[in-house]
């Protein structure tokens, strides 16, 4: 009797579902209701131009094939795995050449000229969904190339950027790059104007008229990919001048006086090293000056404008990875006679996480609506996505109870990974000030 009653209730609930109820409407009414049964990921993908849609699918498939299997081991044993096969595979697919469109770069031509940063953000989310550390390994290469692309110097494009991309894409010899701004005494200082003005920077370049080049001395720290990079873009002030004289130099592995110091022991994103780089009388030929002399500060700030949406996208990926793995857990785990996902309190949490991630993605995609990424919107995207990601990762862990903190489930790894996104590329506090600075002459004008 009760069973019959239950069945009847179940049938009525099914009938009331808008998906079924719409059958009672006329044709136009039915057409106006979007009842497609597709995942949020597919919904979002469907909004993209065809070539970006394909890129997103390709990036996801690459991440699932190459990053997913390596992720747990690389996180637990960051010094015992070889990153080169992954870099090579990514290079082959064009994922290391994201700062130029085809044929030299790996991203689509027309969408690139609509927004330079968007396709990179699309790739970053997919990679970081599978692993924050390996995602960083691949994405921080593009950060290292950033000063080339944004230098505006034809000389740099022809001498450095194009050869690098041709070598990577067509000759199958990827060269890994890293971006070096942080110094032991100046972290977030070099990511905002007021801090920059007062920063105590130790890395200096002195012109040697005899050698016709610069002698670089100093130290950089927390450099992602620092230990494995073949080339690094280093920012240094000209001797006896301030940060206004910051200039970007290309330093290559094997240059005399260039060495790698200690690699940091990090909480997360462990598959990518964060290393100290030491420069002791390193001779830099003039051809390795990136862009104009003393253009480094502006170049650095603009690199951050373009990279922060991608950092936000990586954070989003960490949150999404935690969410997806938690969702799988809820689908596969029983509590009493029901699966976890059948409990309303669990559904509530999962829906809340999905909404949070969706809002973060909206912000990131919004930040890439224009050709150029600008300071306010990039900072906002990074802050909102990283705060959201950390929150979602914690929610996922909590939902899984004690299983949440077990490494093999992959959710705690995402939590550890996501915490860094609130710190690097300028702490979220600095990024808030970045928005204020950018809008000071308009919205916040006295």
């Amino acid at each position: 009797m009760n069973l019959a009653k239950d069945n009847s209730l179940h049938e009525r609930i099914e009938q009331l579902n808008p998906r079924n109820a719409v059958k009672n409407m006329n044709l136009i009414g039915r057409m106006l209701l979007d009842g497609r049964e597709m995942s949020l990921w597919e919904h979002d993908t469907a909004t993209l131009p065809g070539s970006v849609r394909r890129l997103r699918r390709r990036a996801r498939s690459f991440a699932q094939k190459h990053i997913r299997p390596l992720a747990p081991y690389a996180d637990l044993h960051p010094h015992d795995y070889d990153p080169k096969p992954l870099l090579k595979a990514a290079a082959k697919e064009g994922f290391l050449n994201t700062l130029l469109p085809m044929p030299f770069g790996g991203v689509s031509f027309l969408p690139y000229f609509k927004s330079i940063g968007f396709q990179i953000a699309i790739i970053a989310e997919e990679f970081a969904t599978e692993c924050g550390g390996l995602g960083l390994l691949l994405m921080s290469h593009s950060l290292g190339v950033g000063p080339f692309a944004l230098s505006g110097s034809v000389h740099t494009y022809l001498r450095h950027l194009l050869p690098l991309y041709i070598k990577t894409r067509y000759l199958g010899k990827p060269e890994c790059m890293a971006f070096c701004i942080t110094e032991p005494g100046a972290g977030s200082d070099v990511e905002e104007s007021e801090g920059g003005a007062m920063a105590k920077l130790v890395t200096t370049a002195k012109y040697d008229p005899e050698l016709k080049g610069y002698i670089l001395n100093g130290q950089k720290c927390f450099i992602s990919n620092g230990a494995i990079a073949d080339k690094v873009t280093v920012f240094a002030r000209i001797e006896n001048e301030g940060i206004e004289s910051w200039t970007c130099f290309l330093v290559e592995k094997g240059m005399k006086g260039f060495s790698v110091g200690r690699s940091e022991r990090k909480m997360g994103q462990r598959a990518s090293d964060a290393s100290e780089l030491i420069f002791e009388d390193v001779f830099i030929p003039k051809k390795n000056v990136i862009g104009k002399l003393r253009s480094g500060w502006a170049n650095n700030r603009n690199v951050l404008n373009y990279s922060r949406p991608s950092v936000g996208a990586m954070a989003l990926g960490h949150g999404r990875g935690a969410f997806e793995r938690c969702l799988e857990f809820c689908k596969n785990t029983n509590l009493g006679r029901k699966k976890l996902i059948e409990y309303q309190e669990v559904q509530y949490e999962l829906a809340d996480m999905a909404m949070s991630l969706w809002s973060a993605r909206s912000m990131i995609w919004q930040s890439c609506q224009e050709l150029r990424c600008y300071q306010s919107v990039s900072a906002s995207a990074k802050v909102i996505a990283s705060d959201t990601a950390f929150k979602v990762c914690n929610q996922a862990m909590e939902l899984m109870g004690d299983h949440g903190y077990v490494h093999s489930n992959g959710v705690e790894r995402a939590m550890r990974d996501s915490r860094l996104t609130q710190i690097y590329e300028g702490t979220n506090q600095i990024n808030r000030l970045a928005l204020f600075e950018h809008q000071q002459s308009s919205d916040f004008k006295l």
Partner: protein, 395 residues
Amino acid sequence: MNVKEPSVCISDEEISNFEDLARKYAQRSVLPMFEGEYPDGNLSFLHGLMDTAFQIGLAATPDASSENNYFGVWGSATADIGIKSSIVILSSIAETCGGIAMCLHAQGVATNIFLKSRNSADKSLLRAGLALQEGMWPPVWETFSSSSNDSGIVLETTFEAKSSSYILNGTKSFVYSLNPPDGYVVFARDEKGWGCFIVPSYAPGILRKDAGARTGLRACQVEHVEFKNVEVPKQARIDYRGNAIKLAKLSMFINWSGMSAIAVGITKGAIKAAKKYATERYQGGTLIENHPIVKSLLSSSDALAKSAEAILSSLTEYTIISDKALARAAGVKLTVMDLCAKAVTDSLQVFGGYGYMEDFGMEKRLREITVLKSASGSPVYLKQLIADIEKENEK
């Protein structure tokens, strides 16, 4: 055995003595384990550390005759003096290391139940673990109310009475203990109700599996324990006249109180470290303690920690081991963890990139607080439990 109200008052001076003892232990014994590059301390120190804790009375042992362990973390005096002394000890040690505090706590929770046995305790079982939880959470409320319910959620570990023994079957998950445990306090049921048993870890039929790599609190052993036709003698059953459920609830009350105390200790340690760093680190030519944003992070962390501490200390007013007290302990864990996690992450932010590195111990604190939040009853579980108890009370 009896589960009774605390009947002996403990003075503030005595509490302060416990605090001093715990601080000295943390400084002299625990702190040296962090010399060298170990994210969670040099765990080879663990045995010596625990031996010291047993000797000075900070860790409870199942040896009921030992006066030394009477007051220790959840020692047998807890029923007489209340939870304050153990809370203070755990919190003080957790300022230095949450993992070591969790070791003492896990030992204490299991031992406290063990010591309630009316039978003579087996003194060879020095290190004990509480085996209550199955699957992802501790028992949900309806598990206590009847042996069968609509949702089908029951305690799955069963016991069967034989002429002179009991046979246990089932699997317990996330059993926290000192490494290696000598025995477990196991909760199981038959068709009549619940039972509570002391089971040696070496008993035939026991399969132990380490929970594997974890986020934090790594000093403490965590394992899943399977009981396959494990036979224990009649006297291994320690509940009395069907009060096993009461014992289970008591263990949950103590567990959540202690975990909340550890969270408060970790947070206080994090804030101390952040304040110290702020007085040493220059940025933009000035000490960061003078930066408005750093001031704001520190003061909000401080306020959160003080709120958490106040909420925790409200628990000491709950002297009656009742469902109401259990709901209160659940509420305290729910709230305290949230406040502490926020305070720890804000304190870490003061360090910038250095906070994320292992060198300053801040990332360890964040990992530990995150584990505490999800362990032995995550927020989703606690909210439902509180609602269920309130509903029951209204009836």
